[in-house]
Symmetry: none
Subunit: 175 residues, 2 copies
DNA sequence: GTGCATCCCATTGACGCCCATATGGTCCCA
DNA sequence: TGGGACCATATGGGCGTCAATGGGATGCAC
């Protein structure tokens, strides 16, 4: 199933193309991707601050509502603007509505997705939806992924990163 | 020292491709690679001066923001201009965006990368992001790598250098 | 009422911006 | 040729601002 989904995403261009805009804007956009990672604490009320750098990227794209869904590959929640969902939906619409692929895709992006809003201080509620899927308990690692960002359980992120690095080393690839 | 560095670059196989530009500019560029190494101290606030020679290379390429990422091979932070990140992204775009390889690559260069800025005096903050990965505590060795430079824990750099020299010697005997 | 989410304000600790000092090297001129 | 002025770099530290966090108060639903 993952492979089929991967093909869907390939076509929808999740990680290839970012937001629309002129070349001039694309120049500027280089500086406004989701990048780096940071770990913040969850307070007694279950809130966590989204890193300032990520918030300013959201602001630059006038994103008010956040679309969150359970990542297809990693035990992480992926977060982006509504355009992220729209891209998925365009992809579904492009093919046979009754195909298994479209069905599974919809199951994941609609059934496994929610809209969230930040409070006035730029914090979001860490719901059971997030906790259950990621294993997050008292700390959240925010991970930039260019056109979106992800919420990870800190140790899980470190482990995934280490594994990715190890596989690159094995493959003998150089920077 | 220059001889030592020449060897190091030879061993590590620095690629021949640098920044884009005209032949005229390429002539000039020869003088503006990151070369040599230097060890500076971290002050009480966790800052360290980037060697002047490196700063002038950055200035010649109008690099304002530094892209830093955790090296794939060594326990070092690699630092370059935004073009470094773009090169990685082109590499990702060139292959199936949702292959495990591309996904891991994104996890490393986006999730494991940061943009940093120098202060007015040409210093950068040595964050936990850097310390944790390199083992740096109170001193930083800056190592030129032609189109980028690296931050090393001083002893780790000496050790890696020694090992590389040793392997080079062995290779020399065989051939 | 009781539980939960939102709004608002307070605290504090980190980082950016600015200026001061030390240190080593170069150049000029007697 | 030797001494001293001058300069660039590295380093130290004060201070204001802002992000991250904590917690009270209010509104809403069950």
């Amino acid at each position: 199933m993952l492979i089929r989904l991967a093909k869907l995403c390939l076509i929808s261009g999740v990680s290839g193309v970012f937001w629309s805009g002129s070349p001039r804007e694309r120049m500027f956009r280089v500086m406004s991707r989701f990048l780096s990672n940071a770990t913040n604490r969850i307070d007694a009320k279950g809130r966590v601050s989204v890193p300032s750098a990520f918030r300013s990227v959201l602001a630059q794209h006038n994103v008010q509502e956040l679309y969150c869904f359970q990542d297809f590959v990693f035990p992480a929640i992926s977060v982006g603007g509504p355009d992220l969902l729209e891209r998925f939906e365009r992809q579904i619409a492009a093919e046979d509505p009754f195909s298994p692929d479209a069905n599974e895709m919809s199951l994941l992006i609609h059934g496994g997705g929610v809209f969230m809003k930040l409070d006035a201080e730029g914090r979001l509620m860490v719901t059971d939806f997030i906790r259950g899927f990621t294993g997050i308990s008292d700390e959240v690692t925010f991970v930039g992924r260019a056109d979106h960002f992800q919420l990870w359980q800190p140790q899980a992120f470190v482990a995934a990163q280490a594994q990715a690095r190890g596989e690159r080393k094995l493959a003998g690839k150089r920077s």
